[in-house]
Symmetry: C2
Subunit: 338 residues, 2 copies
């Protein structure tokens, strides 16, 4: 049997996005008639069948929702799952979780496995590997075949779907603004490498707050920490070399690590150093002093995503409700560290 052509192969052939191919095949008016015809003819000629991943799902509702997340050790993603669970249970849906372990391959495998008749739709957050590879064909294929996907937190605009995001940019902006209003001027940023969309947006929020206040950006106050549970040495070196009066960490772990290192060096928190983290998890609550954080409301993100997905699952197959983008507002939870 001849190998079936995939959406990705068609998109490469015409140098257009997978999303364009998918829309063309679905006769979307967004795509010009000419392009639609070329793509449809080519797909027909090459025996394109929209079933490389999902099997005939329309008539076979499982009442199961699949969640694919990069990891679950962090409080944020676990609380997202709790949020999905809680809304899904109320609506009579079950939840199946798969972990991509930040790997692109694992994300694709998980997706194929679940799409193969186990679930009706996905809620997902991209792995680091997928963000690095910028390859989203697996998600687009599933959507092209009629299985709804809701992207959360780590999302891509290359996939046309419902999205639930947190306002990372504004969350970071308000946190840093708060530090500035408290009179802090030498504000260190503990962030992640730029290919992580989340770290990038939070960094932009930090930069914006400084700019607005007329505080010059000092590159040596910005640490880019690759290892999620690392950064200790970099932070210690920063405190030794520079005078710093505040720290904004894009994760609560970075912030608490900085707080502990400072205290061991005799720098008192919050008197000499104000500290704010991102993600309002258990660490922030039990740290000493307790940590001021930008709360991401993981549970609310989960609930919102579940609601969007279940609404899609229960609408008519012919429905053309446009995709929505929900922004869950972060809030600053002030505690003892500021």
């Amino acid at each position: 049997m001849k190998k079936k052509i995939t959406l990705k192969e068609i998109s490469k052939r015409f140098n257009v996005s997978i999303s364009t191919v998918s829309k063309a095949l679905k006769n979307s008016p967004e795509i010009s008639e000419k392009t639609r015809k070329i793509i449809q003819d080519f797909a027909k000629e090459h025996n394109y069948k929209p079933n490389n991943i999902a099997l005939s799902l329309k008539n076979q509702k499982t009442k199961n929702i699949g969640i694919i997340l990069p990891e679950i050790v962090h409080y944020f993603f676990s609380s997202v799952i709790n949020g999905v669970e809680s809304y899904a249970s109320e609506q009579g849906y079950n939840v199946i979780v798969c972990i991509s372990n930040e790997s692109f391959d694992k994300e694709v495998i998980n997706m194929q496995m679940l799409a193969n008749g186990s679930i009706d739709g996905f809620i997902m957050s991209l792995s680091k590997g997928t963000e690095k590879a910028q390859d989203f064909h697996h998600i687009n294929e599933v959507i092209a075949q009629g299985m709804p996907v809701v992207q959360i937190d780590r999302i891509t605009e290359e996939v046309d779907s419902d999205k639930v995001i947190i306002d990372d940019y504004h969350g970071a902006y308000h946190a840093v603004k708060y530090l500035i209003e408290k009179g802090r001027k030498k504000i260190a940023l503990l962030t992640m490498p730029d290919y992580m969309s989340v770290g990038k947006l939070r960094t932009e929020g930090y930069l914006k707050a400084l700019e607005e206040a007329g505080i010059p950006v000092e590159q040596d106050l910005i640490l880019r920490i690759e290892d999620f549970y690392g950064g200790g040495d970099q932070i210690k070196a920063l405190f030794e070399e520079r005078s710093v009066d505040a720290v904004f960490g894009v994760t609560e772990f970075f912030a608490v690590t900085a707080m502990n290192i400072a205290q061991k060096m005799g720098i008192s928190v919050p008197e000499d150093l104000s500290v704010i983290g991102f993600t309002d998890g258990i660490i922030s609550m039990v740290s000493n002093p307790s940590l001021t954080t930008v709360s991401q409301h993981g549970e609310e993100i989960g609930k919102t995503a579940a609601k969007l997905l279940i609404n899609r699952l229960e609408e008519d197959d012919d429905s053309t409700t446009p995709y929505v983008r929900e922004v869950v507002k972060s809030t600053l939870v002030t505690r003892e560290s500021t």
Copy 2:
């Protein structure tokens, strides 16, 4: 169509355990010939078919492993999943996770959903609800139908299966002994209600260490905390009313909460109060001072369970390898709090 009788109904009818029924139906020599015959006749008469949950799985290997856990917000269970993932991936297996949310009903639903063709075998830890209800028919039914189950951490002897446990009793015993050797005599215990097998074993370890050292047990030094994220008021009242020179918490959250409350009351840790927790998670590492803990090695538990399960899945169907019980040793990780 007449409703099929279940293992549970048969076990009630003859006032024997589900495990006995299951063994009798499988002609196990452990059960007397007389009992076997009575049960088999009754099952036949009532149209018992061993397919209430699992469908014909023998010829339909999915290479997927199902994990059912009570919750995942805690570091211990997340690290168990990481352990399972890591071994399973090496062996070409995928992992699907379902959360029972400590609910018996949810555990049963998850089990039915996954057993229905999505996976080849289970790794599971009982929900609080299941421990309270003492109802394990869903697990016994799945096993009776040839699907292997590995129980971890929160287990029951009512289900005959492979088991991986941590030595809760010895872990607690050694932790309290360590406190006694450091000269501590008024050692408070922060534990859970007794119906939680884990809390019970750790309490027994505490009692044993005191007894051996000839230290009388004082009931008002033992707090039973129902709410996992609670206990603050009880702990504060204890410190106000009693002189305490050490605290052993059966979770790291209880221990860190106690440490923070003590420090706010001007009690210095570790000088005036030594503190040890159970479960070596992120909280213990980032607390200030860092917390001495009994490490549960969740990742190793996960790996061991995955290995046992995959071995079972890959052996002959006729294999009669006896069930094993693996004990993963806990270790005391000493840090600044003692």
